[in-house]
Symmetry: C2
Subunit: 431 residues, 2 copies
């Protein structure tokens, strides 16, 4: 199809990007079209190894840090005057290669592949990037794969480490369990100490830009090409334990039981009702429920729930938090159960940088793409970095809104659109 | 304390029995006073090994079969004329050494230790056992530990194999999972073929007697020493799967979800209500609930429930079965979920033999112990044997009714009473 506008603005190479994306999608692929790459699983380690080799094949510099973040690095000096650029800041692009268990092949992977493609395009066009606000400074480009975005172990782990937010306490009681964290770090040659060493100086980054799939239906329903993220919702997570008594499930009469399953079930139903009726901007999920001892013929003595809830607003968060914990205690009491409440962590809602949002919007306009401002219901690494440097984020449409599932899909044209907007935003911010 | 009655009737040696019971209770003991001996776990294998050595130390013959049942055997010929006793039948006493996960130290173990003590007492008193109904036949005594009574793998496995009820189908889809069964059998040197070879001829057994803890509160509340079991309830078990859709738990709005946790939770609550209101003689248990994929940030696509229900009456069973499955489908439909229903197995209610009940009752009377007739809400190996030979069973009081729990406790005097009633019933049936 002949294009009616000039060959400018510069675009990425869509075939090269598709080739990389497809190779990556085959690593730890599942039969139903998804991928299974929980952090530091065999599949995830294979994807990391492939990414390192892909970077080296591209003639880009491979870098890693104590948090296991992997990067392609394009120093300003290489494409600039040939001299060292001691004052250079780095403009970071990226996303993550880990997946939820049996997840989709776009979540995270698209953003990393688009970032890498932007670096390849800038390199082959020998574009000299300079800071728009401080023209004496050159700008390095870096395409990063952040460790454990999805939270198999900790959640936003690599970005929190890079931003200097990670604490010994986060590592001591991670939501995936300490044993799993220790084992995972060992598999990747990492440790608590290395994790805590990955923080970067506050003035080293010019900004962070991320392309991601929307994981919702808003763009698809509105028929819009690009979503420019205004804010990322916050996430709070808890482990709630309802505690009753193990009894023989045959010889103990129904009214003599202290059955932990009842409190857990009642809470799960009531929490959904409460959020739908009273907190329309929020969501809640009970993603996991474990009964102990966990046998057919024993009344459950304990039910552990994995609880997560999200809100774009800090005040609403505090109200929802109080309401959910009160509800849990009420449902426990109704069945004679005790409660244990373990707070696992929170991420506050994060505002995206205005300049970044404007750069994305003008990039869309120049590329002839429609765009809309929206908030992100999903958490992303950008929220870790938001007080370290300016952060911007864009979404491309998810077919049927599906995500964290093998059904996850984004049309390839939309993926390429996103990469072109990312490239153009880079040029606008440091062209 | 001086006893006011004659030293007759014969009694077991309570100190010797306590010594054995205590040694056994230390094997795979948990810190809270229970034991953890799921079938063919390290702890269970250690208990089996100890039992074999204890038999050999007692000068009794150790026997085993293709189902891994372990026995102490006291041939009639040894205590009789010294001649072979080709027409001898065997009077089987016993219970099981496996436990539920983190169970108590009395469930099963007491019955095996009491059976062994009865053999030791008969042996040291050189009592010649003969059939009451066919005085030309001698009677062998056997104290058996049945494999996998609790159902870690199959449930009533060893007794079903011995009774010839076990089928290839039972082994192909066991409720604990086929992989776990294969692995467990391998650990004990067993196989499908050996399991199916363990059936005994129908006329080889004179009967089966079992002492067990009540695992309920009826005896304790009534202040009665011995419960004589009239019937054992039947048990049906299913795996119910509620199937929705995996979605991102942040970016998918609450009303766009097909959340499997909701059907599972609603069924768990409603099943209890239904049984309490409409089926007062029955019990139901959801002992396990597994969500898949099982992550904080994914809407559960699937919830698998371990469902078990019990009734003393076959007609009521059929009504309850239909009502529970209809309820599951209704709750699934309410949340837009699909259902998968996997029938895992059933045991019909079993009537205990009248002659055995009478023998127990007169034994109690002669020993000055109070007794009551009751049904067993728990399943027991006797139900496997009920159409192979006459079966009788007695209960001793459980403190606070606790069982399948480390809180399980029976006063030692009650344990000894039970063993004495078992011994006296043996002498009445084959004295």
């Amino acid at each position: 199809m002949a294009e009616s506008f000039s060959t400018l603005p510069l675009r990425v190479n869509p075939d090269r990007m598709l080739d990389s994306f497809t190779q990556l999608a085959f690593i730890a692929a599942t039969a139903d079209g998804g991928v299974n790459r929980p952090t530091f699983s065999d599949g995830h380690l294979a994807a990391r190894k492939w990414f390192k080799e892909e970077i080296e094949k591209s003639g880009l510099e491979f870098r890693t840090d104590g948090a296991g973040n992997h990067s392609a690095f394009l120093p300003a000096s290489v494409i600039g005057s040939g001299q060292q650029a001691p004052l250079a800041k780095t403009l970071l692009l990226g996303s993550h290669l880990d997946s939820v268990p049996n997840g989709g092949r776009f979540d995270g992977a698209l953003g990393v592949m688009a970032a890498l493609e932007v670096l390849k395009t800038v390199k082959e066009n020998r574009i000299n990037l300079k800071s728009r606000t401080e023209p004496s400074r050159s700008v390095n480009l870096e395409a990063i794969d952040f460790t454990d975005e999805e939270g198999t172990l900790v959640g936003l782990l690599g970005s929190a480490a890079l931003a200097g937010h990670l604490s010994q306490k986060d590592l001591a009681s991670p939501r995936g369990g300490r044993d799993q964290l220790v084992e995972g770090m060992a598999r990747a040659g990492l440790s608590d100490a290395s994790m805590l060493s990955a923080a970067r100086p506050k003035d080293s980054l010019a900004g962070y830009l991320e392309l991601h799939i929307e994981q919702g239906k808003r763009l698809e329903r509105a028929g819009i090409d690009i979503g420019i993220v205004s804010a990322i919702v916050g996430i709070w997570s808890y482990r709630l334990s309802f505690i009753g008594r193990a009894d023989h499930a045959g010889s103990t009469t129904m009214d003599d039981r202290l059955d932990a399953s009842l409190g857990a079930s009642a809470f799960t139903l009531a929490a959904r009702e409460m959020v739908m009726m009273g907190f329309p901007d929020c969501v809640v999920n009970v993603g996991k429920m474990d009964f102990a001892p966990g046998a057919f013929n024993i009344v459950p003595a304990r039910a552990d729930l994995a609880l997560e809830f999200r809100s774009p607003d800090e005040d609403e968060f505090n109200r929802l938090d109080a309401a959910l914990l009160e509800l849990a205690r009420k449902e426990a009491g109704r069945f004679g159960l005790e409660m244990r409440i373990e707070f696992l962590g929170k991420h506050s809602p994060s505002m995206m940088n205005e300049t970044m949002q404007t750069a994305f919007a003008t990039a869309c306009d120049d590329l002839g793409l429609t765009h809309v401002s929206l908030s992100s219901g999903a958490g992303h690494d950008g929220q870790s970095l938001a007080d370290l440097c300016p952060v911007g984020m864009i979404f491309v449409p998810s077919v049927d809104g599906a995500s964290h599932s093998p059904r996850e899909f984004t049309k390839w044209d939309d993926c390429v659109n996103g990469a072109n907007v990312l490239l153009q935003a880079v040029l606008r911010l440091a062209g």
